[in-house]
């Protein structure tokens, strides 16, 4: 019984990371209607960025996260302004192909600068420190990631529901063309949206680098997990992605409890069942904002 409670708690916390890594993808789809194939690679890029910032400044990666998030926001804004905005007018396939190309470029650039060897972000003893409750040990790092994830979701919810920017975002999610006929520069909003999406990728990427070793080609699996979280939760729904991430985390955790090779398979199985039985996901756009 204790083992299963432990499994559920570990799954919940793992789900917090999936939810965080899927949020940027959900946002770029929800606002800009961009299926970002390079999402996982941007996550890995953020981990390398944190490595560089930590190495240059001596900052702890947990503090460097602020610098990484800011730089990733600027990167996202610039990427949308210079490349993706121009591709949006060509339909949904065009940005998909462009992000696929960016993914390949990023693989090569990262390999060129950092080699194919795995790297990691060192946060000292914090990485293995744990909270002991009876027979259950819960790592402080997964707890931190989970709560940071909840904080990011809450802030984003407040932005969407209570600010002028959020009001525009809700309008764009409903109907981008009509929004431009209300005097709104939707391309500028797209830039801010991609900036926000990449800022969240910056946070998720740093935690990814802290919790596991990373290498230039590690983004593919992260993209898959992020996609699974977004689709299980419902494409374009913020809170759906949180639920999707947690569902995926619990499924993987239960899988690992059954056998070491079953973890990822259990997650993929849940994803497959959702595609088969409820392709709109837990919370579709009709029941939530963004």
């Amino acid at each position: 019984m204790i083992a299963w409670i432990d499994t559920l708690i570990q799954g919940l916390l793992l789900g917090g990371f999936f939810a965080l890594s899927g949020l940027g993808l959900s946002l770029s789809f929800g606002i800009m209607r961009i299926v970002n194939i390079a999402h996982g690679d941007f996550l890995v890029m953020a981990a390398y960025l944190c490595l560089v910032v930590s190495s240059l400044t001596g900052m702890n990666p947990l503090l460097a996260i602020v610098v990484v998030t800011t730089l990733m926001f600027l990167f996202g804004y610039g990427l949308q302004k210079t490349i993706l905005n121009k591709s949006i007018d060509g339909g949904e396939l065009s940005p998909l192909l462009i992000t696929f190309g960016l993914s390949i470029i990023l693989h090569n650039v990262l390999q060129e600068f950092f080699s194919a060897d795995a790297k990691s972000l060192d946060v000292g003893a914090f990485e293995v420190a744990s909270l002991n409750i009876g027979q259950i040990n819960i790592g402080w790092l997964p707890i931190t990631i989970f709560f940071v994830s909840l904080v990011v979701y809450t802030i984003l919810h407040q932005i969407v529901e209570s600010t002028r920017f959020g009001m525009i975002v809700r309008a764009i999610v409903d109907d981008a063309e009509t929004t431009s006929l209300m005097g709104i520069n939707t391309k500028k909003i797209n830039c801010l949206g991609m900036g926000l999406s990449m800022a969240i990728v910056g946070i998720a990427g740093t935690f990814f680098g802290i919790k596991s070793p990373f290498f230039p080609l590690a983004g593919g699996l992260q993209l898959l997990f992020a996609f699974e979280a977004v689709i299980i939760g419902g494409m374009g729904s913020i809170w759906g992605t949180l639920l999707g991430g947690i569902s995926l985390g619990i499924a993987q955790s239960i899988g690992y409890r059954i056998g070491s090779g079953w973890g990822e398979f259990a997650g993929h199985l849940v994803f497959f069942l959702f595609l088969l039985l409820k392709p709109s996901g837990l919370l579709s756009k009709e029941t939530s904002h963004v």
Binding site: V173, D174, S180, L181, M182, I184, N185, H289
Partner: protein
């Protein structure tokens, strides 16, 4: 106020607008009729900046706006409604109009709120400010389209079949609203299939077919023309 100079628009080999020129003066209400596929809605898309032209020029308030994006044309004073209402579903009536007042009219705070409420009041929805759009009837959705377009503070209002699907009584209510908008000095271009609704309001009538101008002038004299009957009303004048 608005001048179209020899404009052309094709989708592939399909010519939708062909060598069309037209003017609309300040405070004028122009009606546009034509059979389905005549290019009426495409004309609105071109004026509002949703689609680029193949050739020709568009002038608004003396400035060329041919290559100006849609959001800037809205800020400059071109507002439009859609044939099938497209409200922001996740918002209330008030929130829909406030988006338009904030960005189209460039107002903020209480000024924007007040302007949005005025537009909603003129459209006859003021008693349902906080009603979600998903709960509205067709007439109310059309009124909301109008309210939202008015909240952008337009100088020129493009109305796309706003009376379509309404019963006679609802249409009379709508016509009263449009006359009031006209009295406030806002120019209107109104695409409509319900000809008697148009002719009861508009100062001028433009007839287009296959994207070309067929007739333009006083509504009664335009409707009396033989080729207008032949093309638009489906009457074969050769064999009366």
């Amino acid at each position: 106020m608005l001048r179209l100079e020899k404009i052309y628009k094709s989708y592939g080999s399909l010519k939708v607008i062909h060598n069309l020129s037209c003017k609309v003066s300040e405070g004028e209400m122009l009606g546009i009729i034509g059979p389905n596929g005549a290019g009426k809605t495409t004309l609105f898309k071109a004026i509002s900046g949703q689609i680029p032209l193949d050739r020709g020029k568009i002038y608004f308030m003396g400035e060329e706006v041919t290559d100006v994006p849609a959001f800037k044309r809205c800020v400059a004073g071109i507002g439009r409604t859609f044939q099938i209402p497209r409200p922001f579903h996740g918002m209330t009536i008030f929130e829909n109009a406030r988006v338009a007042a904030n960005f189209g009219a460039g107002l903020i705070g209480k000024e924007a709120d007040g302007f949005a409420i005025q537009a909603i009041e003129l459209s006859g929805l003021v008693d349902r400010l906080n009603t979600p759009c998903s709960a509205l009837s067709l007439l109310d959705r059309k009124r909301l389209e109008l309210a939202r377009a008015l909240a952008t503070d337009p100088k020129l209002l493009l109305l796309d079949e706003i009376a379509g699907g309404l019963v006679e009584e609802e249409m009379h209510q709508l016509i009263d609203i449009l006359k009031e908008i006209g009295r406030r000095g806002i120019s209107i271009i109104w695409i409509e299939h319900i000809v008697h609704a148009l002719t009861s309001c508009v100062d001028r009538l433009l007839v287009i077919n296959f994207g070309e101008k067929i007739a333009d002038g006083d509504p009664n004299s335009v409707m009396a023309k033989r080729d207008v009957h032949e093309i638009y009303m489906g009457l074969d004048m050769k064999y009366p």
